[in-house]
Symmetry: C2
Subunit: 144 residues, 2 copies
Amino acid sequence: MIGEEALAGLLKKPNLRMTRQRMIILEELRKVNTHPSADEVYEMVRKRLPRISLGTVYRNLEILSKTGEIQKLEPGSSLKRFDGNPHEHYHIRCIQCDRVVDAHMKCAFSFDDVPNEMRDFKIIGHKLEFIGLCPECVEDSLPA
Amino acid sequence: MIGEEALAGLLKKPNLRMTRQRMIILEELRKVNTHPSADEVYEMVRKRLPRISLGTVYRNLEILSKTGEIQKLEPGSSLKRFDGNPHEHYHIRCIQCDRVVDAHMKCAFSFDDVPNEMRDFKIIGHKLEFIGLCPECVEDSLPA
DNA sequence: TTTGCTGCAAATCCTTTGCAGAGGT
DNA sequence: ACCTCTGCAAAGGATTTGCAGCAAA
């Protein structure tokens, strides 16, 4: 889970406008719990705004996830990365430069309220990824 | 972390051949801890097999990650998904149909051996995703 | 010998971007 | 008014795929 405040504080841009398109995209996304893809959001929104473009949907999803209004369910960039080490370990990824390093640790869960759908999953494993700024990018982003 | 055995057991195909290309891709990936992209693997491997094609690299990375020899660092498909709920919760994704459902739980870490690079990261948050088969896909994959 | 794998190139899919006009604030 | 945002369409980048020959088992 991204700490929203931290991220919002880090990335929120000034001068954002609440357009009809942006608002409806957010509303539609809040209505469902199906984690739609950009294209699916486009289809949902199109029912209310037939003339909206896919490009606008992409642009707004990007902005809304940067301000912390929604979450993007794909860590890092769109580039897949491969790890020659098949053994249990986690990763930390720099949101700025997309670099990934290994993180060795244990991780324990305590379940609050497992939804039925999840109870019926056959769970094979899990992936944990920390998100942050790598040493170089921290330095670059600090005021000199 | 994917339970390799489980995954390997689930997805390993019979009749795989250990070709020169497949072996060298695996060897090169085992040598580094830099989590290269497919294209970077291609460049690494090209030094030893100048005539290998990018397509072959992609095909083998896919196979090696399905048999559990390596890990692919991008959960689910290449399709990004969006979640209208910005609050702290995790997800479980079906490896078969790519469906995502919410998982509400707490998660605690105990650090073994934090690498220096990680210590110097500015950590903003984390993402946890369980991987498994959803109820429908479990059913489909069972012998009738 | 069988049939999985390869190189090549084209195709596909998802996402991003340039532009000129529209519309928040 | 200012300047962000939009629709459209084209571009871009990553990944996949069809095919005919090659090579593990």
